[in-house]
Symmetry: none
Subunit: 401 residues, 2 copies
Amino acid sequence: MDILELVRTLKTSNDSKIVMLVADGLGGLPQQLGGPTELEAANTPHLDALAAGGVSGSMIPIKPGITPGSGPGHLGLFGYDPLKFVIGRGALEATGVGFSLGPDDVAIRCNFCSLDAAGRITDRRAGRIPTEQSAPLAVGLRQIELPGVELFVEPVKEHRFVVVFRGRGLGGNVADTDPQKTGVAPLDPVAGDQQSQRTAEVARQFIAAATKLLSGEPQANGLTMRGFSVKPNLPTYQQVYGLRAAAIAVYPMYKGLAQLVGMEIVGSPGSLEEEIDVLAEAWDDYDFFFVHFKYTDSRGEDGDFDAKVKVIEEFDSVVPRATALGPTVLVVTADHSTPAKLASHSWHPVPTLLVADTCRTDGCRAFGEREALQGGLGRFEAIYLMPLALAHAQRLGKFGA
Amino acid sequence: MDILELVRTLKTSNDSKIVMLVADGLGGLPQQLGGPTELEAANTPHLDALAAGGVSGSMIPIKPGITPGSGPGHLGLFGYDPLKFVIGRGALEATGVGFSLGPDDVAIRCNFCSLDAAGRITDRRAGRIPTEQSAPLAVGLRQIELPGVELFVEPVKEHRFVVVFRGRGLGGNVADTDPQKTGVAPLDPVAGDQQSQRTAEVARQFIAAATKLLSGEPQANGLTMRGFSVKPNLPTYQQVYGLRAAAIAVYPMYKGLAQLVGMEIVGSPGSLEEEIDVLAEAWDDYDFFFVHFKYTDSRGEDGDFDAKVKVIEEFDSVVPRATALGPTVLVVTADHSTPAKLASHSWHPVPTLLVADTCRTDGCRAFGEREALQGGLGRFEAIYLMPLALAHAQRLGKFGA
C-alpha cells in the first residue's frame, strides 16, 4: 500500500480549508559562495512571520538529484508519486495549451520541420520559424479530414504544435516519427500494440494530408510527431482526499495539470492580486485551493537574480490577503527550484512552510533555504506534503486501532 | 529486499543487551505558539544527560501525516513495516484484553446492540451499557455450544466484547454484520472466500444462540460482529533479529503486541518501578527488553498538559535504574505522539534517543522535540530504529564484501 492509497482509506471530512500557495521555481542558489539565495535576499516580512508561527522544511520534489519538469513537479505536490503516475508528453503539451483532454483522445507533440526534395529532413525545427508564421500554418491543418476521427490542432510556440485525435479505441502507444537527426526522412508512426494500430494509421493519413498542405512552404514544409499519449488515468482529489478542490492559476499549463487530478478551474485571473480575489470569492465553495504563481519561475529561467528577488517580494505582499481568509492549513511551497544562477529548473530542495494550529514550534524565524534546513518538517519528499496538510486539517483518521 | 529481510540476513550474535524504553504517546505539542511541548516543559535531568551522551532524532511512526493506532505504532517500533504487516481488528481487540491467539483462532470484535421487535437495530451500542452490566452478559455467552468449535468470549468495555472461535480450517475473511446504521437488521456474516465459509456458518449459529440468550435484556438484546481476523503471521524477534526478547508491560494490549512478534512476557508489574524491578530480575535471561510505560499516552489522551508533564518526570526518575544495569544500547522512544492539545494520538514525529558506546556526538544537550530535530539520527521512520539498535549493539554483519 503506498501513501496515496493509505490516505484514501483514512480520509475524513470536516469544514476545514486548506490553501496551497505555489510560487513556481521558488528555490534558488546564491550568486556566490556563502551568499543568500533569491528568497533569502528578498524582503519577505509576511512569509517570515508565517515561518515563525508554523513549521518549515526542505522539500525534495521527486528524489534527491532529480530535476522535475512542471508535470512531475506538480504531480508530486498534489500527492501523486511522479514515478508511478506518468503524464505522456503529448498529453502534457495539450494540457499546457489549455486543451482539456477527454477519454477518447490521443495527444501528440508535433514539430514543423524542413524537408528537401527527396523528403529528407534538413532542419528538425524548420529554422525555429516564428510563432506569427507557424500558428496560421497549424490552424490551417484543421481542415484535414480523417474518417471516423475528430481532429484538433493547436499552435504552441515557434515550430511546435499539438495534434489531438479523438475517436473510440485509439491507443496511445505509437513510436515517434522524429528521427532525431537530419539527412533522413521522418520515420513511420509504428504502433507498439494492437490497440494503437488505428492511431498509427490515422497518424499516417494526417501526415500525408499535412505534408500536401504544407508543400509550398519555404521552411515548414513537413512535420514530425512525438509523445503520442492518452489522458493519464489519475484518481481525483475528491476520490483520494475527499476534497472539493479549486485551482487558481493564470497559465493554461497549471490549470490543465490541476484539471487532470479533478480540481475545478476557478475564475480567469490575470495577475497574482486577481488570483487572491478569486480565492476570496470561491472561499465558501471549496475545501482546498491550489494557487499558482508563475513569475518566480519565469525570472529564474531568465537568469535574473534581482528580478526574481523582486517577484518573490511581490508574492510576499499578497500573503496577508490569503491568511486573512483564515485557512485551517496554509502551505507555501513550489514545484521545484529555478535558481537564476542556472537559468533553469533544478533538483535543489524547495523551502516549504506549513501553518496550522497543530504545528510544533521549530525555531525557524524566517522563510528561506537555510532556515528550512532546521525546520520541523525536516527534509521530506513532495508526495508527503498533502498527507501532512490533511493531517493538520484533521482530515485523516487513525491508521489501525 | 526490504529492511527487515536485509537485517535478517545480516544478524549476528553476541552478549550485548538492548533496552527499549517506550513512553507511549511521548511526543507533544506546545499549548501556545512558540511554547514548549510536554517533554520540553518537563524537568528531565536523566533523559537530558542521555541525550547529551547519545544521539537523538525525530522519528516518524509510519509516514509523514499518518497517525498510528497502538497496533501499527508498535509494529513500526518493533521493525515490522506497518503497511505490510497488518493486524486485523478482531486480532488486535483480542490482543488488547490479553487473549493469546493461536494458529486455529478467528477473533471478532463484537458490540452489544439494541433491537426492536422486528429485529432492527435501534441503538448500535446498546445505549453504551456500562461495563458492570455488559461484562456478565458477555460471560454468559460462554455457555453457547458450537459443534466442532471451541468458543471464547471476553468482555471489553461498555458495549464491546471479543469472541474467538477456535477450530481447524477457519478462515478470517468474513464481512462485518454491523450495518453502520440504525433502523435495519444486522447483516448476515458473509464469507469472502471458500476457507471462511465455515467461519461464517459458525458465526450464524453463534448469533442465533446469543440473540436467544439475550432476548430478555432491556438494552443489550442483540449483537454485531466486526473485524473477523486470524492471528497475524509475523516472523519472531528470534527469527529476524536472533534476539531472545522480553516484554515488560502493565497493560494487556502491549503484552499482546509483543507476543505477536515472539517476545516473552516477563513478570506482572503494576507500576513503572515494578517494571524496572522485572527488568533487573530478567536481565541475564534475555538480549532485548521492551519496557512499556502507558501513562504518558493516558494523560495526553486526557488532554491534561500538566499531568503529562508530571508522568514524563516520573518516567525520567526511573531512567537511572535502567542505565545502572549497563545496557549496550539504550533506546528511549514512543509508538506515536499524543499531544495533550489534541487529546488523541497524532502524526507528529516522536523524539527518540539512542545511547551506546558507538554514538557520534551530535550536539544535543537535552531530550525534547526541538533538540531532536538537530540530532544525529535526523528524521527517520520507525522501522529503522531496530536496525540502528542492532548496529550499535554490533549485532549486524557487513552487507556485501
